[in-house]
Symmetry: C2
């Protein structure tokens, strides 16, 4: 799963509006994967899902996920390392 | 609270080993604040807590927090925007 998400991280380099796509394993529960992403807009994020190769990657990843992937939409206030 | 954490984000620029310190508000629950941080080591992170001004910032923030701050230690696998 991590390998697929790292491949996705390579893919989003070509996506408009993506600044961070950081793949992490939960230190306590290594089967839990976190991806922290920042985008200029939700629209940019949604468009990236149509990039060549992305639907195939998602299809490869979905069977590996136990249950439904969870997501928490956030609003970036600022900080270090954003751009 | 966001303002204090953004001040902390400025402060960690002087800290050894900090690459990301991103302050976010939960889009659904704006009273919930998320900070995504990446460090070269836990030691670097712990040392940053002793930087001049940091204890005072923590003291200012703690009364604003409802209950205990939660944290999820992660292991970075890789991705876009890390360095």
């Amino acid at each position: 799963m991590v390998a697929i998400l790292l491949q996705a991280a390579e893919g989003v380099k070509a996506a408009k509006g993506c600044h961070l796509y950081v793949v992490c394993q939960d230190a306590t529960n290594p089967d839990t994967i976190w991806v922290f992403e920042t985008w200029d807009s939700k629209e940019d994020h949604d468009n990236s899902l149509k990039l060549p190769g992305t639907p195939e990657m998602i299809a490869k990843a979905m069977p590996l996920i136990d249950g439904k992937p969870e997501g928490t939409p956030l609003v970036v206030a600022g900080g270090l390392g954003l751009f």
